[in-house]
């Protein structure tokens, strides 16, 4: 974690303290927490939902949950950013699945593509290096592993749906997912 903290100066270092203040209903701390994390949350949610309107709504839900549940954050269970991104991913996946259940997703999302607005310069310099590293690490996975991550993490499928989709057995899919994550973790130096 120390290594990660060193690589994410503006993010990991302060989030702990901000979350503690948010738990005390400090609106300024909440705004700062939002500003420090919004691009990651909105980006992930958008990647999963592929619809700008739904992504905004879900992002808002995520931060309302932060506002209300900041006190539940347990530093022993992981970093603040992992807590937040887990929450964001859970919300996005829930939304995808409820839309799928209503069988609206295909028609409403269709081939909708989200054009990411130009990255803000301020964060770009730090992030660029990180993004490059992440991209490289994703690139170091096998195609089959990457496909698994895409379907499970970004498309919101369960591992058994992934196995149906790829006509591979469950054990194969589970081990592909595990190997993909281990590969990424090692490559990114997450301890």
């Amino acid at each position: 974690m120390l290594e990660m903290a060193a690589r994410l100066p503006g993010v990991t270092a302060d989030l702990d303290a901000l979350l503690r203040r948010v738990a005390q209903r400090d609106a300024d701390a909440f705004a700062a927490f939002y500003d420090n994390t919004r691009a990651r949350v909105f980006g992930l949610v958008t990647r999963v939902l592929r619809d700008p309107g739904y992504s905004e709504e879900t992002t808002q839900d995520v931060y309302l949950q932060v506002w209300h549940n900041a006190g539940n954050y347990d530093p022993a269970a992981g970093s603040p950013i992992a807590w937040l991104m887990t929450l964001a991913h859970r919300r996005a996946v829930d939304r995808v699945r409820s839309e799928q259940a209503a069988s609206q997703r295909e028609s409403r999302y269709g081939a909708a593509n989200v054009d990411p607005p130009a990255d803000r310069v301020a964060e770009a310099v730090i992030q660029l290096d990180e993004q490059r590293q992440v991209t490289e690490c994703l690139g170091s996975l096998t195609d089959a592993q990457r496909e698994c991550i895409q379907l499970a993490y970004y498309d919101g499928l369960t591992y058994s749906q992934v196995s149906d989709r790829l006509s591979a057995n469950l054990a194969t899919i589970k081990s592909r997912m595990r190997d993909a994550l281990r590969g990424l973790r090692k490559c990114l130096g997450v301890s």
Binding site: R47, E56, Q60, P117, A171, M177, L181
Partner: protein
């Protein structure tokens, strides 16, 4: 965990589910099943599982830099308005001087007159208790949409709490002599959820929707005078409450 109360021992399979579990790539039923198994699993297994979950989530948190996209600015405004509607936590009861008591009494009188006058009214400021409950609800949900004449309307609501909080941002005021009226629409029809006149449509307005019932949609119409008992003009904006 000795004692044999566990009817279903942790299968050797459990650990292979740690990564799908951490990625939310299991169904709700499997999720519940995994948690049940974990509760009965030997501590060593439970800890190994938790470690794996943590490692996966830290890793994906780093990976999230690759998909970062700046959200639009209005999201920040909307969010902060919603938080504001939630209201600050009251620390200690404030000592009130005579002036604030008189003001409160005057305000209560005005609200009373309005309620008597039209039979229903939108609350000018949300009841913090209801808003608090909505934001705290596990099923809290946000829907928002653009108002064709400008601005946005956002409803944060909870079916469990049977209530919602409406936040209007940058909505143009209604024409003189008319109000915006909100309607909760269900299969049986529309019922009024209150009105907003020009004075109420500030740059950012919040209102509590105390009883959602079975309503599927929050609709907006322009109504003459102080409002109508049923919509008399076409709906100009609506938000699905689902």
């Amino acid at each position: 965990m000795p004692g044999g109360v566990v009817t279903e021992p942790a299968t050797p399979d459990l650990m292979t589910l740690a990564t799908p579990y951490a990625l939310h790539a299991v169904s709700q039923a499997e999720h519940d099943d995994i948690e049940r198994q974990l509760a009965g699993a030997p501590e060593l297994v439970a800890r190994a599982f938790a470690d794996e979950v943590r490692a996966v989530r830290e890793t994906m948190a780093v990976v999230s830099t690759a998909t970062a996209v700046e959200p639009p600015d209005h999201l920040r405004d909307r969010l902060l308005a919603a938080i504001d509607a939630h209201g600050p936590v009251r620390q200690t009861p404030q000592r009130r001087d005579w002036r604030s008591i008189v003001m409160a009494a005057a305000a209560a009188l005005v609200v009373g007159l309005v309620v008597v006058g039209i039979g229903w009214s939108i609350r000018p400021a949300p009841n913090p208790t209801t808003a608090e409950q909505v934001f705290a609800a596990p099923d809290v949900r946000t829907v928002s949409g653009d108002i064709p004449s400008g601005g946005t309307a956002t409803v944060v609501f909870s079916r469990e709490r049977n209530a919602g909080v409406l936040v209007m941002n940058n909505v143009a005021p209604p024409q003189p002599g008319t109000v915006y009226q909100m309607w909760l629409v269900d299969a049986k029809g529309a019922r009024s959820a209150g009105t907003m006149d020009a004075a109420a449509v500030a740059p950012s307005t919040t209102a509590v929707l105390p009883d959602l019932g079975d309503s599927e949609t929050l609709a907006f119409t322009v109504e003459p005078g102080g409002g109508s008992s049923q919509p008399t003009t076409p709906i100009f904006a609506q938000l699905p409450l689902s």
